[in-house]
Subunit: 424 residues, 2 copies
């Protein structure tokens, strides 16, 4: 049957999805060397000051500043070096008047000392089996001391749950002793590619057929946002088999993505499957190019994304709709592609009633974002995705766009945006 579909605006489609997302991911523990790119499952809170003690940022001598009050080039003050401490060791002595302790970078400031003078600024002299330094300048109390807690105060919350773990986060996790790190479990995203034209990647070409590239592309899109793709093969032609497979798969995954078979063709079982599943269809047509025939449904809190079989339509549909739903499961803040303004580098004279998402490259010229489309802008085209780092977003309407205009772009490799589709 040919089904009549009413397109809804992109932002309404995204907002319908965001109204149904769950932010209730499960937490698991991974070792600290495996946590990069995962999402913190609990807030990262300091359980001690950093530094944990006053320490020396340089190699030098811990001294009492008051001993140097009269020091000058003409009147060098000799201080007796009574001990030598490296990082990790604590001085035994408490500093008395006219004494100094040789101290290495990172070592704890000895009791009695209130300043450090750098190694390069003093002269060592040896007399009667003792070592002295000649201090030729006045040193202020507190000079060259890294104060306990100046970096991080005990009990402060450093990062919220849902924060994507970067290399600096790893340093903090190590500092606070997280040998095991609480992270959200990777959402498991099932992939079913439908279409009798599809060959497996290892099959030779046949007349009228193409290899299944969408399935692997979506798997990469899923991996890129830190989720776990799981392949469930293809759908059979017969309805009951299809229905059982979708039902079974849905039970095993957090999110299900299908590609193909959601065009307005006769052979498409998906609408009937959604119906029999009693899934709520949020929408089945969007006023956008490519990807207008994207269908999104929800069943028992799990999303089913029915993406187009056209490579770019499939790509765009995943980024706009599946990405925020999946990232919500790990409590991420920036679930959407990062939206920014850029200067258009090409004319698009022909208006289009639908919002267009054009595979593009954003480059930065003298600190300003410029955007140019890449490759052929047809929804069946696969090559341009490899060269794109952004989607140029051209709102639908009656006007074209000219080179030099300010337009909106969605960055594919950015940090993401928390909210880009304002509700009306």
């Amino acid at each position: 049957m040919v089904e009549r579909r009413t397109p809804i605006p992109v932002k309404d489609a995204v907002n319908k999805i965001m109204d149904h997302v769950h932010r209730n991911g499960e937490v698991e523990y991974v070792t600290i060397d495996e946590c990069l790119g995962r999402y913190l499952g609990k807030p990262l809170k300091a359980d001690h000051d950093v530094p944990p003690f006053d320490r020396s940022p340089y190699d030098g001598f811990a001294i009492r500043s008051e001993d140097t009050q009269v020091a000058s080039s003409d009147n060098p003050v000799p201080l007796e070096v009574i001990e030598e401490i490296g990082a990790g060791t604590v001085a035994k002595a408490t500093l008395q008047a006219k004494q100094a302790i040789r101290i290495m970078t990172g070592a704890q400031i000895p009791n009695g000392a209130d300043a450090v003078i750098m190694l390069e600024l003093v002269k060592e002299v040896h007399e009667n089996g003792k070592t002295y330094i000649q201090v030729k300048r006045k040193v202020a109390s507190g000079d060259n001391i890294s104060r306990q807690g100046e970096d991080v105060k005990n009990d402060s919350v450093l990062l919220d749950k849902g924060t994507k773990i970067n290399e600096g986060t790893v340093a903090l996790l190590a500092t606070f002793g997280y040998a095991k790190v609480p992270v959200y479990k990777k959402p498991v995203v099932g992939i079913i590619a439908t279409g009798s034209e599809l060959l497996e990647v290892n099959q030779p070409l046949e007349p009228g057929k193409i290899r299944n590239s969408n399935g692997y592309m979506i798997a990469a899109q899923i991996q890129k946002i830190g989720a776990e793709p799981k392949f469930y093969g293809k759908l059979a032609d017969d309805f009951d088999t299809c229905f059982e497979k979708i039902k079974q798969t849905l039970a095993e995954v957090d999110v299900l993505v299908t590609t193909g078979g959601v065009s307005v063709g006769d052979f498409d079982h998906l609408p009937a499957i959604y119906k029999k599943l009693e899934a709520e269809v949020l929408f089945n047509k969007i006023a956008m190019r490519p990807g207008s025939v994207t269908t999104v449904a929800v069943k028992d809190g799990k999303f089913l994304f029915g993406l187009s079989g056209n490579p770019s339509a499939c790509f765009v549909g995943f980024e706009l709709f599946a990405r925020p739903a999946i990232l919500s499961l790990v409590e991420a803040d920036f679930v959407h592609l990062q939206k920014e303004k850029a200067i258009l580098d090409k004319d698009f004279p022909k208006p289009n009633p639908f919002t267009r998402f054009v595979r593009s490259r954003v480059s930065i010229e003298d600190g300003k974002l410029m955007v140019s489309p890449v490759g052929l802008d047809k929804s069946g085209v696969v090559s341009s995705i490899a060269y794109a780092n952004a989607l140029l977003m051209l709102p639908g309407g009656t006007r074209g766009f000219e080179r030099g205009m300010e337009v909106e772009v969605l960055l594919l490799n950015g940090e993401g945006s928390a909210s880009i589709w304002e509700k009306e």
Copy 2:
């Protein structure tokens, strides 16, 4: 011994490294679902056209355009529907005058047809057991046909070796049947953290000691650029044991990174170890803050990076010096951090003779890059790294910098730059 060291400019340091890099990585094969983020080991070349045949981008009817030359609303032309083909099947018939073949999206254009008319634009009628469509408009030859090779021409080189594999690359690899993908082996980077103040991540704090955060941070930096970190623990205090350990480790890795023990302290064995190894020390002091006491040496074509024990100095030293050497091993083009211009959002009134690298955040406002420092700008500080996405680069000299000035930034999460440190 206190060693005298002469600082060299940052760009000279980087250029000395680039003069010694090797671009001779080994190639291995991984399955297509494991290749995301790896670097192509061979150029990706098309071995067939894409699409591999003329095909229909829509659901509709394949027709002969000449049959529609007189078609109009007043004069609908009836065409007999003689066959129906889905994607993946090939029409048996060759289209004759006044015939049409029902065709699905992605299916091959039947012989004899030279255009497709969309489903929505015709009316189906049934007469005498036959099906006809009524065509009410003139269709041009070639309308709605995606041409063989319009996306990718057979034999074209799509991506060069050394290209970082993204989700679009994966789609291309699948299209051309790469079930196994040639990628450069991950460079193995050994990590040795030195310093008697260092506790393991799972040890409780002790007076004067801190946990080893640099080792894990560097491991994350290594993972982030697609290489493989390998921990080799700490160095002992005794010279001969140290020497043997460094020598052994170097034999097992492609690159060796040490952190700590390269300050100008007395307890530092590394200079003597480099000497005994007969490694060529490229430099041991750089006119930069933080990280001035970074040492880089080369032994039999393998790099030894002696990074500072201070967290931010260590971080910056890795990004500026180790990163391009490691990425060269996988033939990457953009081995350096991405350098861009940005508007400074804060005053830095105090001049500094050394080039400064300030942990910062770049944000985009109305399409323009703005940069603000994050956290405390001291080399011992670890927390600010977690919040940074860029290094603000302030050249050394006698002047300060003011809010609103154009400055250079190095983006930590960008696509990288091929060359940012011009030789003089």
